[in-house]
């Protein structure tokens, strides 16, 4: 009935955040605090892995959006991957979410990042 947050970092500036459990009114503040510890300069691309997120309420959505905005304000990106059915349902209600920020699979995300890099490079 709670949230576990695992933050993994690679030597080459990739950061992956795994959310396990529920991101809701109760647990969102903990997510806010932990995601804020990831330096944007060092980790411009932050991937939030939702594979084990069972429940997302609007308080959680708000936290994800805040983190996404913080990343993009700092010139980086925060991407979401592997939403499960209940979580996908919530994203579907929130139609305003750009399709370029939630990816079904890591492959789909890789293709997006590759395309982006080709454009900017």
């Amino acid at each position: 009935m709670s949230l576990e947050i695992e933050i993994y970092k690679s030597d080459d500036g990739k950061c992956k955040v795994e959310l396990i459990g529920r991101l809701d009114t109760n647990t969102a503040p903990d997510f806010d605090t932990k995601i804020a510890t990831v330096e944007h300069a060092e980790f411009p691309i932050q991937v939030v892995d939702l594979a084990r997120l069972e429940y997302l309420s609007s308080a959680g959505v708000r936290s994800l959006f805040k983190a996404r905005k913080a990343a993009s304000d700092a010139g980086g990106q925060l991407l979401l991957v592997h939403p499960q059915p209940q979580v996908k349902k919530v994203f579907d209600i929130i139609k305003a979410l750009p399709s370029t920020s939630v990816f079904e699979s890591q492959e789909e995300m890789d293709r997006y990042l590759d395309a982006m890099q080709r454009k900017s490079g």
Binding site: N26, S57, S58, A59, R62, K66, P85, K89, V90
Partner: protein
């Protein structure tokens, strides 16, 4: 069957209500999908009441009443009653696409995840009644 719950206006009560609601519906063999949706709407509506309905100074001192009813057709009716400031979520302005506020999702969820919703101000109370049955997936 009808079950009554009384919650104080503070967040931990919302969470424990969700757990009880989920367990109860699971006992009636409703689908994970339906249980998820009702739990989610409950969080959205009850947290809003706690956050916006009562002054900070009265936190934990007021009561929110919830009635859960399941009829023979397995239609679920959830009634949420509070004596907070008048607020009709159905009359609240629709969020528009360009809206760049980070929040404001609770009410769209209420509308999408229920079959029918009604609001009434009855005396000093907000009465929100919502219905939901199993959906084909």
């Amino acid at each position: 069957m009808t079950e009554r719950f009384v919650l104080r206006n503070q967040l931990p009560e919302v969470e424990s209500f969700q757990r009880r609601l989920e367990a109860l519906l699971r006992g009636y063999a409703f689908s994970d999908d339906l249980i998820h949706d009702l739990s989610l709407i409950s969080e959205e509506m009850l947290v809003n009441i706690v956050h916006y309905g009562y002054p900070e100074s009265e936190a934990g001192e007021r009561e929110i009443k919830v009635v859960l009813a399941i009829d023979e057709a397995r239609r679920i009716c959830l009634e949420i009653r509070d004596d907070a400031i008048p607020f009709n979520p159905l009359a609240a302005e629709e969020r528009d696409i360009d809206d760049d506020r980070l929040g404001g999702w609770g009410i769209p969820m209420l509308k999408t995840l229920t079959d029918h919703v009604e609001y009434a101000r009855v005396g000093s109370e907000n009465v929100l009644t919502l219905e939901r049955s199993e959906r084909d997936s």
